[in-house]
Amino acid sequence: MNKNQKNKRVIPGFGISMGVTLTMLGLIVLIPLASLVVYMAQMGIGEIIQTITRERVLASFRVSFMTAFIASAINAVMGLILAWVLVRYEFPGKRILDGMIELPFALPTAVAGIALTSLTSDQGWIGSFFSKFGIKIAYTRIGITIALIFIGIPFVVRSVQPVLEKLDASYEEAAGALGAGPFTIFWRVIFPELSSALFTGFGLAFGRCLGEYGSVVFIAGNKPYYTEITPLIIMSKLQEYDYASAAAIALVMLLAAFLVLFLINMIQARNTKIILTGG
């Protein structure tokens, strides 16, 4: 404790940094969040539960959750492959590939939304191909999943890449010297080192997918019970000035997002524990 107090006195700026940080945090993040809670308190538990258990709302939870999960799972696999390819191999155009990964971050979700919808509608470049087999993509859950895959691409790749880059070659060399082939080395030596980053990336993508609006709202078609995602229900309620319902549903979403974050942190902590202190 002594050193901490000394630190405060030696390096200047504690007071003002704390002041600015807390003020801005309070005004921009905490107070608005608090108003949600205050509003909820005014509603009463009974009304809240009633709102969120309405069939349509529950259906939207299911749609959001499932599509987010599948999209994030696909991104987990593809993200791992992408990170591996970017770190381990050399090939023409690699730098361009690496630079493109952040596109979903840089591109406005609305633009992604209309582009993907156009692409996968029955007249679109890709949609027309699939419609020959009777498969519709736009305005279905498949479409939603595709949009969610799009926005989730960077999360897993950028989570796994740094870990893979820093991985000490001697682990693989040791396994190789002991007779292991490349697949064994990957599964038993490399993968455990990556699994924590993989989970983190999955969790981040999943959290993002749950709350995504812009890129999904165009491609979903927003048919209640079928392709209506939770953020969209909230938006509809807001447009109807039904703030109460909107707030209640929003609360559930927030809780889900926090839960995901919490789980990620726990898994990360557990893995760090094993490396640092042996579990």
């Binding site: 060399e173 040791a174 010297a177 002991l178 292991a180 064994t184 042996g278």
Partner: protein
């Protein structure tokens, strides 16, 4: 010869790591590769293991040329400097890894792992993770892991570099003991002379990618073949022109000399010195206590000579004038090292 390297060349960019390296190691021997950082010793080790490929030359193990055989199939055990224990596996699983790869049956694996755990003295710690072990314990597990699949050749890359000084001593004797018991041909890399002398049956000295000399520790110490070995091995003072010390033969073309502390006898003016006529006078510049002796730096004319005195002898002080007698010196020309004896020693019949 069990392991042979023939004319190995290896370059990394513009750095020549191995320059016409050729040597052979007999079966069952424990050999140390000793040299300064960047001398190429680790590269040699890794090429024998198959972790690097030579640009030219042949690597032969047990009569077979192994250049194109991958590391996983060479039947060697490798111990890394930083252990490289698999962080997500227990001690047991680490040691069992090589056997599991060989698809040995479960019972056999269990027997062998338990045997090795007992050998390295870590019973009771099988379920621990590497992060729960001390440096010395980790190195022993790395050793056991390398031995588990019964390799014919054991390679160790600076195995004690990352370990505390005190533990290092214990581990060194333990390792030498183990290897002798198992009788396995072993090669280890080190930059620590003491370690090489203590552990190895034979030493190979490397410098700038080349092999300077190979032989038993004593032979290399007493008969260095190159000026590098003469200066590197042991603690020597370098003299630019030894003719200042008159009692040595002239060697054509050789002026540089190396003087080991044990070649020098320093006597106070007041002490008895047999060869009083052959001494040079010097002034003591520095006196340092070295634990079991006193080290002196003495200036003779414009040359600095390092010498030692026993603790029981009378104290010598800085600034004192003393007599310096050289029993022998190493004189070097371009290629060879000559060991010259003080001529006065031959005329032992001449007494004062």
């Amino acid at each position: 010869m069990y392991v042979e390297l023939k004319n190995i060349n290896k370059t990394f960019g513009d750095y020549k790591a191995s320059d016409a390296v050729t040597f052979g190691i007999k079966k069952g021997k424990l050999v140390g590769l000793l040299g300064p950082s960047g001398s190429g010793k680790t590269t040699i080790l890794r090429m024998i293991a198959g972790l690097e490929e030579p640009d030219e030359g042949e690597i032969i193990i047990d009569g077979k040329v192994v250049n194109h055989i991958p590391a996983s199939k060479r039947g060697i055990g490798f111990v890394f400097q930083n252990y490289a224990l698999f962080r997500y596996m227990t001690v047991y699983e680490n040691i069992a890894f090589g056997l599991r790869v060989q698809k040995a049956n479960k019972k056999a694996i269990d027997v062998r792992v338990k045997e090795l755990v007992a050998l390295i003295g870590l019973e009771g710690l099988e379920k621990r993770y590497p992060s729960q072990l001390s440096g010395g314990q980790k190195q022993r597990v790395a050793f056991a892991r390398a031995l588990a699949p019964n390799p014919h050749l054991l390679l160790l890359d600076e195995p004690f570099a990352a370990i505390d000084a005190k533990v290092r001593q214990e581990l060194r004797s333990w390792l030498k003991d183990m290897i002798e018991r198992l009788g396995i041909t072993s090669i280890f890399v080190t930059h620590d002379q003491e370690e090489a002398i203590e552990v190895a049956d034979e030493i190979i000295i490397t410098n700038k990618g080349r092999i300077e000399q190979m032989g038993t520790p004593i032979k290399i110490y007493q008969n260095p073949k190159t000026s590098f070995v003469a200066s590197f091995f042991g603690r020597a003072s370098r003299i630019e022109n030894y003719h200042g010390f008159q009692c040595f033969d002239q060697v054509a073309g050789a002026k540089q000399a190396f003087i080991r502390p044990e070649f020098v006898r320093v006597t106070k003016k007041s002490e008895v010195q047999k060869y009083k006529s052959s001494v040079s006078e010097g002034i003591v510049e520095q006196v340092s206590f070295r634990g079991d002796n006193t080290e002196l730096r003495i200036r003779v004319d414009d040359m600095a000579v390092i010498a030692k005195r026993r603790l029981e002898e009378e104290i010598v002080e800085v600034g004192e004038k003393v007599d310096v007698f050289l029993y022998r010196i190493f004189v070097v020309d371009e290629e060879k090292v000559y060991l010259l004896e003080n001529k006065s020693l031959k005329d032992d019949s001449v007494f004062i």
